[in-house]
Symmetry: C2
Subunit: 450 residues, 2 copies
């Protein structure tokens, strides 16, 4: 019945129940179980979204927004079936103001598509989560990535969102001004709300100038604790790194096996420095001194493109190395803790993974105190999943007790639901009431966060 309504309002060519489409929209890049939606709507405008939500409200059908499908916590999986909204046809740049360093895009524009346009004007969109995610999805999960240490996460880039509410109302959460003290900050509230409060259709973003010069560097340390201390030292020295990434020895081994490389098998730090040439050169010199003072080995720095790529290659290869192990699945961690707790935290995680008897990798954005753990298990071996799951739980609870969060950048989705009470305490009840206020019928991405 609601299907006919969708066809009547949107037109047949925007509605699909083809098996291939249903399968494609049944999962993301996480280990969470796929669930087929009943129908996929290839919307083309905010008005289409309004129609979908009105029909969904009338017939009480779940609606799950689906971006590039690159999420890591199952946010886009339609766990209660119903309608999936696909944004790939809603991919227009609407307004680009280089003089304001600002751009307004539809939710289906991807990160690389956006940068391709603005890079020509000496500007960049700073958030880099790795995947070529859609901007709408990046807002919905408050994505960040390697450059957040310098420019902040997705929430820090936003001026205004256009949102369609459950009843089809269209609203704007902000203005085009750089700051405002008017009314409640709904922009921040919708950022990271994972499609549970409304559907984001347009986004107005801040842009940054492309730094004129950059250098990359790499070094290794004998302990992961020292690695974390080294990252802390860089921050305390006030060196404004563009990127600062940790990869532990165990991950380096995996990369060598996977890519046939011969990177020194030790705990490694990767840096990118960017800015005016003179400043960058001074920063690299200072960083080198500080790292050597801490006992680093294998320090390498480069400014030409080829060598920079070589230095960064291990970091780039890591995701493939983990993903490509046949018959092996992983439980992914994404905790973020205060910088001062990093050394203790990564040591705890490393020891716990070693004790578990399973393969485990640690890497991440140490400049933010955000690091990832991957605990690998063979689902065909009895008990391995349970060990992996318990190990991950222990790491997350340790992070929360250290004043940190269960998710620095991937979001809650399905995988981090169980930690919400421990992390948010009394605020969780307020979050549930907020959800109910925006979505009294529970049609907006139900089964997520709570």
């Amino acid at each position: 019945m609601y299907l006919q309504q969708l066809i009547d309002k949107l037109g047949k060519e925007k509605i699909s129940q083809k098996e291939a489409d249903l399968i494609r929209h049944s999962r993301d890049e996480s280990i969470h179980a796929a669930v087929l939606p009943d129908v996929v709507c290839f919307i083309e405008s905010r008005e289409d979204v309004v129609e979908v939500l009105k029909i969904a409200s009338d017939y009480q059908v779940p609606v799950t927004p689906f971006g590039a499908g690159s999420g890591l916590e199952g946010q886009a999986i339609p766990v209660q079936k119903g309608i999936v909204i696909n944004f790939e046809r809603m991919n227009k740049i609407l307004n680009f103001s280089p003089e304001d360093m600002r751009i307004t895009v539809q939710a289906g524009v991807t990160r690389l598509q956006l940068n391709k346009l603005v890079n020509d004007h000496g500007l960049m969109f700073s958030v880099d989560p790795g995947a070529d995610a859609m901007i709408g999805g990046m807002v919905a999960t408050n994505a960040s990535g390697t450059t957040a240490v310098r420019y902040g996460a997705m929430r820090d880039q936003l001026l205004d969102l256009e949102v369609v509410l459950a009843d089809g109302t269209i609203m704007h959460t902000g203005t085009l001004a750089k700051k405002s003290s008017s009314g409640y900050n709904l922009t921040g509230l919708f950022t990271g709300s994972e499609g549970t409060l409304g559907v984001i259709t347009e986004i107005t973003l801040k842009l940054h100038s492309i730094p004129e010069y950059s250098m990359m560097a790499r070094c290794t340390f004998d302990s992961i604790e020292l690695c974390a201390r080294a990252a802390q030292t860089i921050l305390q020295a006030g060196i404004p790194v563009l990127r600062m990434e940790l990869i532990d020895a165990s991950s380096i081994s995996m990369i060598n096996r996977h890519s046939g490389e011969n990177f020194p098998v030790n705990h490694s730090l990767f840096f990118e420095f960017a800015g005016p040439r003179k400043s960058v050169e001074e920063e690299v010199t200072l960083a080198s001194e500080l790292m050597h003072k801490l006992g680093c080995e294998n320090w390498t720095a480069a400014n030409d493109e080829k060598k920079k790529d070589e230095i960064w290659k291990a970091r780039k290869d890591l995701n493939y190395a983990i993903a490509c192990q046949e018959g092996i699945e992983e439980i992914g961690g994404d905790v973020c803790v205060p910088i001062s707790r990093m050394p203790e935290m990564v040591t705890y995680a490393r020891n716990l993974m070693d004790k578990s008897g399973l393969n485990g990798a640690i890497w991440g954005h140490v400049g933010d105190g955000n690091f990832h753990t991957s605990i690998m298990y063979d689902p065909s071996v009895d008990g391995e999943f349970e060990i992996a799951d318990k190990t991950n739980d222990d790491i997350v609870m340790y992070a929360i007790q250290a004043g940190g969060t269960c998710t620095g950048e991937h979001g809650v989705g399905l995988g981090k639901m169980k930690f919400q009470e421990a992390e948010h305490g009394a605020a969780l009840e307020i979050m549930k009431r907020t959800k109910h206020m925006y979505d009294p019928n529970g049609i907006l991405n139900p089964g997520k966060i709570f």
Copy 2:
């Protein structure tokens, strides 16, 4: 009846109905009419706040939090009488972690008190609204000021808030980690909520390193439009000014009259540059070139403390010059627009004030697109208030139509209520529902924002 309850729960020494106390808590620094509260509670802990809110909920008595009283939009005026919560005894630094560049304070700690402590560690709290406001009040209004162009507003400094809800529930909105994608962003929501959703009792803030070196500069232009273009030029050149302030010619005349100075009577830009010495010197050279290319006059720059003070003196004297005109009142503006609309916007405002026949001043934080207008009128002259009010309304509506906001940093309070519908449209209804969700009995700072 509720009075006796307050005395029983808090103790007599925390409750005052002395006339002097009632008067002191009846107004802020705005022109909005004073209203005496029924009672002032000098709370000393979060538990005291819990007791006050429980009693206020039981007896349906309005509760208005009162900080330093330095607000400019009447947020702290108890317009529906009832209880005022005074925070001056809740002024402890609770946790200072220099290695995390982070501090947790009670809401009654003031900006200067905080900086006095952290400055000794080479750190600073960046937000500078001029007044020695309390941190709780600064969160409640999302305050900013002269340094927001570089470090952002209050909202950008926050990691966690402790909030007491209307029913006395204590909750935390965030964590100590630098970023999080877990749950809804309640920290952002409470920032700028002006005591209408809950009472903020503790705040965890980010700190910044004190720049090693700074220089100040000043120059003048023949038109206010050129002044705004000059500010835009500085930003587009990527010069990371610490402060960049505009003062129009009319304001400079007032300052000269008030302070007996002899500043060149023209539209003026004031700069502060800060960072590593070499970078600062390069920035000043570049800024000087760019300003001269645009036709500036009276360029002066200095690095020694005495000369820096001289350069900045006009900016500092401005507030006194406006406030000290006997028999004159002012309607204050605080719009913020996209940078590209600044030249047109300040020109429009200047022309409108000139046409009104009233004295008017323009100054502000042009690096953010945020500027203040002061339209001065004699309340004893029939019709002057109406002209001032209409002129202010026209300026604000022009800013909103330019994609801007009615308040860049002072907040809504009483003075900007009438612009909420024009600025927020459909979102205003959501804001009202949010208010109702948090405060079903309407006891939290009633009569503000909506």
